[in-house]
């Protein structure tokens, strides 16, 4: 039995061996509760402080701006609901192609009196600038936009968008979970442009599941989502997940050290993959936009994405037909719908997201398998018609 090739790094990544190594002592030896005052507790507190500094350094933030949470979904919920709870209901703008953990909390707020605007994207997957300007003229109170889309990998140029949100008097948040570790992020610079908060997650960049952070400008007041004990400056109660936080910190440090090399490796693989795809009729979504170096989202006319993904799995390639969180949902991707892609083509969508362990040989093997599978499926479709 050979190990399948993992091409689904936007769903989650393996934990880097160096990260695992750093985490292990915090399970059974240095196991203290960071709130305890004895040596076990103080050692845990020091480990968290160090990780906080590592996370902050990776995005050019100050350690005091890092709020640890259990995951990216929690961080996005905390930001949106927490900020809304400190304001009188008004206009809230989020991207129509955003992740469900931004869209669903925003819809909850809409039920509590907030006026929700879902910002459409242009055909390339970027926020439609004209509509954005029109919404800013209506003075939103909170704006939240994905920095890089999990399905298409399209990178949003948030700096000018944040600047106009600031001019409109809005708090601006960006979910940077997919961007973090793949493209450089500088919170000081972003903050200077009007970005008040960023969401980061460990398990998308070589860290463990169970740790994430909200990078937060302290002027932005939040009500906590989870009360009880007052951890994380009162913004997030609950015993700190020391091992995962330590792992997150080390993953951040590795990401900085390796980012340039990783980006060029991924860029090379992606070019190889895309050239191959286009050569036999693959249509790549978001091609006109700047995208993450690891993500290729594509479809073949007349080939169902679910079916294709199933065939690829059996052939030993782990890819996704959409976001992992909504994989159970047979509806075509809301991201592609927001980009104006026809449902028929959208149903064919397959996402390959590359990572550090992937090689040229794997991409070449994948292309060969994909080509023969697509040929076969297209012939079957033609016969059925």
């Amino acid at each position: 039995m050979f190990a399948p090739v993992y091409f689904d790094h936007n769903a989650t990544t393996p934990v880097d061996p160096a990260v695992v190594e750093a985490m292990l002592p915090y399970f059974s030896q240095q196991f203290g509760n960071a709130s305890s005052r004895h040596e076990y507790g103080r050692a845990a507190r020091r480990a968290i402080d160090e990780a906080r500094a590592q996370v902050a350094a990776a995005v050019g933030a100050h350690a005091s701006e890092v709020v640890f949470t259990s995951g990216g979904s929690e961080a996005n919920n905390l930001l949106l609901k927490g900020a809304a709870a400190c304001l009188r209901p008004g206009l809230l703008a989020v991207g129509a192609a955003d992740h469900p953990c931004v869209l669903r909390p925003a819809e909850q707020l809409a039920r509590r009196g907030w006026n929700l605007e879902k910002l459409p994207t242009d055909p390339a997957g970027r926020i439609d600038r004209e509509r954005y300007a029109a919404v800013m003229a209506r003075k939103p109170k909170i704006v939240s936009l994905l920095l890089a889309n999990n399905e298409t990998g399209v990178i949003e140029d948030v700096e000018p968008l944040a600047a106009s949100a600031r001019a409109a008097g809005a708090w601006f948040h960006s979910d940077a979970v997919q961007a973090f570790g793949k493209v450089p992020l500088d919170f000081r610079r972003l903050n200077g442009c009007g970005v008040h908060a960023l969401t980061l997650s460990a398990h998308k960049m070589g860290g463990p599941k169970g740790a994430a952070a909200l990078i937060l400008d302290k002027r932005l007041e939040l009500e906590p989502l989870i009360a009880g004990g007052g951890h994380e400056r009162g913004l997030r109660s609950g015993t700190e997940n020391v091992a995962a936080i330590v792992g997150f910190g080390v993953a951040c440090q590795l990401a900085i050290e390796r980012r340039a090399a990783l980006a060029s490796q991924l860029d090379r693989l992606r070019t190889q993959l895309e050239e191959g795809l286009v050569a036999f009729g693959g249509q790549i979504f978001g091609l006109a936009a700047k995208r993450l170096p690891n993500t290729v989202y594509f479809a073949f006319a007349g080939v169902d994405g679910e079916t294709l993904v199933g065939h690829l799995d059996r052939a030993g390639y782990a890819v996704a037909s959409g976001a992992a969180c909504s994989s159970a949902n047979p509806e075509p991707s809301h991201v592609l719908r927001a980009m104006g892609v026809a449902d028929e083509l959208a149903r064919g969508a397959v996402r390959v997201s590359l990572g550090r362990g992937n090689t040229e040989e794997q991409v070449a093997g994948f292309l060969a398998t994909l080509r023969s599978t697509v040929d076969r499926l297209q012939r079957l479709t033609a016969m059925a018609v």
Partner: protein, 403 residues
């Protein structure tokens, strides 16, 4: 060889049992898939591990796996249970009942619900830390929707009469939530017989990892909740967010071990705890906080009169113990739990919580006994109050000069 400091703070957190850690590690390295990934074996493998762990958690408390919702910990479980139920049933009533000795995760959540327009009754406990069932019954009103009472108190280890409270609540159509973070592996929990509707669990108090917990949500009769975290619709919509597979696997294994070993383990720990109590009971003016009968075998909470708590903690640095609950020990307020028992500030300040566990040894207990004897007599030698008491002065009659 004794490893110092000796860890006697198992109610703050426990080490991950090495057998648990061993089960977790593969899910960080080669079995790293996202359990929500539906299109490949990495995802299916992770999902299968999550479901196996769910069964183990359910088994320990005699629940259906479908009644177990993963969370990031007991604090989140308590928040989800209280806010989720209060918000869902707010049309039925807006009154909640809880107890003054609950964990902050419940008390702070209740305060938040008060700001949202709910009314909360905070019940007193008796001198032994136990809730009086008549007082509990009397506090329930026609508009009460939920009562929240912890199974085992984190500071004094007393076990509340949950079964009786369940009967009372069920007969009045009121939901009962129980914070069982300190109970798993220490007391038998049977949700087939207990009339409890919601129950919070934590992994890291039962030799599992930090960062994972669960909420039991009864299906028959069905309990509904408003989700507090929205997104991809994980956990049947109760709680969105990628499931941390390795932590969940750890919780499953920890609860499996608890189910298999708690009988023998608790007897061993009771023996050690009783040895500790016996060894310290020849010190004068030592008071046990909380009922000794309705109490988990792991806990001993003592007040050493005429010894200042902070100095005592400094003097016994070789013992990793707690002078209050870990979550509040950053403040120098006397423990609100001990205050609720009617202890005065001085006795509350001079209290130490010893919590023993799976890896505590007889040698460690004996060392702790010797150390405490030595340090307490030394501290009392320095205490003018102790000298006055030895001279037969009743301190309550002394007129202290203001300063």
């Amino acid at each position: 060889m004794l490893k110092l400091p000796i860890y006697l703070d198992y109610s703050a957190t426990t080490p991950v049992d090495p057998r648990v850690a061993e089960r977790m590690i593969p899910y960080l390295v080669e079995k790293f898939g996202n359990p929500a990934s539906r299109s490949h074996s990495f995802g299916w493998e992770a999902e299968a591990a999550v479901e196996e762990a769910r069964e183990e958690v359910a088994k320990l408390v005699h629940a259906d796996p479908k009644e177990i919702v993963w969370t990031s910990g007991a604090t989140e479980s308590n928040n989800l249970a209280l806010k989720g139920a209060a918000q869902f049933y707010s049309g039925k009533g807006r009154h909640l009942v809880t107890v003054k000795t609950e964990h902050k995760a419940v008390l702070d959540t209740c305060r938040e619900l008060e700001r949202q327009g709910f009314a909360v009754t905070y019940l007193d406990v008796q001198e032994n830390g136990l809730l009086d069932l008549e007082a509990f019954s009397a506090a329930l009103r026609p508009d009460t929707i939920l009562a929240s009472v912890m199974f085992v108190n984190n500071e004094i280890g007393v076990i509340q009469p949950i079964a009786e409270m369940g009967e009372i609540c069920r007969s009045r159509g009121i939901l009962l939530h129980v914070d069982a973070a300190q109970a798993t592996g220490k007391v038998a929990i049977d949700l087939e017989t207990l009339k409890v509707d919601l129950m919070s669990f934590s992994a890291h108090k039962t030799y599992g990892p930090k960062g994972v917990g669960a909420l039991y949500v009864r299906r028959k009769p069905r309990v509904r909740l408003n989700a507090q975290m929205h997104g991809g619709g994980h956990e049947r919509g109760f709680r969105s967010g990628t499931l941390p597979t390795h932590q969940i696997v750890g919780m499953g294994e920890a609860f499996r071990l608890a189910r298999l070993e708690m009988g023998a383990e608790n007897e061993r720990i009771r023996m050690l705890r009783d040895r500790l109590l016996r060894g310290l009971s020849d010190i004068e003016e030592v008071y046990v906080n909380g009922d000794m009968e309705h109490r988990v075998p792991h806990n001993l909470n003592l007040s050493f009169a005429y010894v200042e708590g902070e100095s005592l903690l400094m003097a016994i640095k070789d013992l990793a113990v707690s002078s209050g609950s870990a979550c509040t020990s950053a403040s120098l307020e006397p423990s609100y739990v001990l205050r609720a028992l009617g202890r005065n500030d001085e006795l509350a300040h001079s209290s130490i919580r010893f919590t023993l566990g799976r890896f505590t040894t007889e040698e460690e207990v004996d060392h702790a006994i010797r150390l405490l004897h030595d340090k307490i007599s030394r501290l009392r030698e320095l205490s003018p109050l102790w000298e006055m008491v030895q001279d037969g002065v009743d301190l309550n009659t002394v007129q202290w000069a203001a300063h």
